[in-house]
Amino acid sequence: MDAVTLRSTRFGELEIPADAVLEFPNGLIGLGGSRYTLLARSDEAMFVWLHSVDDPAIAIPLTNPWKFFEDFAVELSDADVERIGIDDAAQAQVYVTVRAAEAMEDFTANLRAPILLMSGRGYQVINQAPDSPVRVPLLAGVAENAGQAA
């Protein structure tokens, strides 16, 4: 198995398997680049890093949106369905980007531009579902559920 050397300003130098490299044909919105990989401390990690393989300084925290937002839905535009080659976001692994901070209470998520991964490729799409804010406190949905359960 071929390995690729990932140079990271945060994590130093890492060897990653070649098949862990994800191709983003259109990069990320406003951020370009084309090769990224997911870095996580364990399989059950709550958050993962989407780390650029081409630029050592670029890494974005991602999370599984359904862990925090039960009612989260992804609707794809017709243009994205054609561009990506799937009908339904359920055919992909779906992540949302997170602005991380020292305290989890200050984390925010972008529900408007989720990242879809499938078959070694990745795309950032614009969610057509209503009520998908570009910036929402990560714990907003969790706090609501906790309140209702009490």
Partner: protein, 63 residues
């Protein structure tokens, strides 16, 4: 032309308004500017997150 693949055409001129069309191959995403800007900003902010260690678990009180 915008780049090699994208063509902007004037479709209609009427009074002081001009309607334009954008023809781009299916592989090139076309976004409304304000959404593109907002997402670009969020991506940049997420990439500038001032932490290197990400939490492993949701705090117990919220689980």
């Amino acid at each position: 032309m915008l780049g090699d693949d994208v063509v902007v055409e004037v479709i209609e001129v009427s009074g002081s308004s001009v309607r334009i069309g954008i023809a781009a191959p299916r592989s090139v995403p076309v976004y409304r500017e304000e959404i593109w800007r907002a997402v670009k900003e969020e991506n940049a902010a997420a990439a500038a997150s001032p932490v290197t260690d990400l939490p492993q678990n949701v705090p117990a009180s919220k689980a």
